[in-house]
Symmetry: C2
Subunit: 245 residues, 2 copies
DNA sequence: TACGACAATATGTCAGTACAAAGTCTTGAC
DNA sequence: GTCAAGACTTTGTACTGACATATTGTCGTA
């Protein structure tokens, strides 16, 4: 039997009806009120029950299908997807990750200056002589060094202060200024540490570093960050979710 | 002035109209007939010109927006997005990657047997006593060893032959059997090589391996592959594209 | 000249309807 | 009893129409 979810639609709210519906259904799944494999009330019935048109309900459901929360099969109905395939919106910073996992992240700014760098500017789609803010940070977790983070930021972020970066992750600082990265290309590799890296991270020559270079863009396609990071491989790994939807 | 793209719609075709339109527009962008920054014919005009309804055109455009090809702003119009933010559908195998880059990939199957493994079965959401096909392959590129690939496959793939795996990538073999992974969780790290890895990959103890473990699922949420790979870090890196859309 | 009001333009949201297609289940003929 | 045809359910595609809202540009007035 199909499960009826409690949904309340506020037609006077400025948030679109389909989005209200999608949010509440999404919550119902996240909270476990709807379990993977459960059959879902069909579009027509749901539309009827909530006094919404079918296209509106469809759009809400489609949003959840795109997120991997629901599975629709024609003639069969809609079911809750396996939790393992739920897509989570990625693009967090190391700082956020550590805090989420209960670590105590801290940052030391090693360098903070304006430079010109043709390679970086090209990657970010900026003029070659653009003034970039180059910063190098040492990231610690529970007082132990974990990573060295090189970053270059476009002119719009040139006035980010040293102190800001000691308090929060780069992405949080950028977000506060209205800069919102939405896509990033990352290249991940590994190599033996350089002498400087060995010193900062407390590594022996045989202990490798995990490296990641990243170019991030906002919704308009403007480059917003170039990063060149290296991590103590024995303490850190990178999770990514890849999908074809 | 808005650019008019040549589009031909075949109403007798079984492929949906919105998809025909999306494909042709996508081609126009990929081929460079539409350049980043170019203004795009507005929905109403496009619908009029092609004798399609506005919702149909909207749906096609939405598809491209989701892929990051187009950028819509209310009151302003639609423009072609910066090429850097175009999303490419990932989920390829190492074999495919090497071939695309012009390398000559080859495979030696080191192990090929049925096993039970609770850890893997759990990750794939299968019963703990499921019979899994465990394979270990040595992947070479231009006759040089590049990676050691451990994989476990669910019962549906138990009959994949040793010979199949010598000829093509695992994903290609699975695709031929109708198994289509659509999402994967990957964890990427690095460590010094084990003795066996040093031997197979021709590494010195100071030369690290890049490691990746992957759990892949099909559209229905069934686990289809568990992988535990390690690569010569000096010859290989992993590219991923991450986004928030 | 400066500034506000308004028009023009484009996308965003929502309703209602019709028919197509895929998958399941029942029914009926043999 | 078996199996195939057809009914039924549910999602997929497509159209029409209407109004809302964000942005830019223009016109007219103070």
């Amino acid at each position: 039997m199909a499960i009826q979810v409690d949904v309340s639609i506020d037609r006077s709210s400025p948030v679109p009806l389909y989005h209200q519906l999608a949010e509440q259904l999404s919550d119902a799944i996240a909270s476990g009120r709807l379990q993977p494999g459960d059959p879902f009330e069909n579009e027509i019935a749901l539309a009827e029950r909530l006094s919404l048109s079918r296209p509106t309900v469809r759009r809400a459901i489609q949003e959840l299908v795109n997120q991997g929360l629901l599975l629709r099969r024609r003639g069969l109905g809609t079911t809750i997807a396996n939790r393992k395939v739920h897509r989570r919106a990625e693009l967090t910073s190391l700082f956020d990750d550590l805090k989420r996992d209960g670590g105590r992240p801290a940052t030391t700014v090693l360098k903070h200056e304006l430079v010109q760098d043709e390679r970086v500017a090209t990657a970010l789609d900026l003029p070659a002589d653009a003034e970039l803010l180059a910063i190098v940070r040492l990231r610690l977790s529970d007082d132990r060094p974990l990573a060295i983070l090189h970053n270059w930021l476009p002119p719009a972020c040139n006035d980010i202060a040293r102190e800001d970066l000691e308090q929060a992750g780069l992405y949080a600082v950028m977000r506060d200024r209205g800069v919102r990265p939405v896509v990033a290309h990352q290249t991940i590799g590994a190599r033996p540490p350089t002498a400087a890296e060995r010193r900062h991270l407390g590594l022996k020559p045989s202990q490798p570093v995990l490296t990641m270079t990243r170019v991030a863009f906002d919704a308009m396609g403007n480059g917003v960050e170039y990063g060149d990071h290296c991590y103590r491989a024995q303490d850190y790994s990178i999770d990514v979710m890849v999908d074809k939807r």
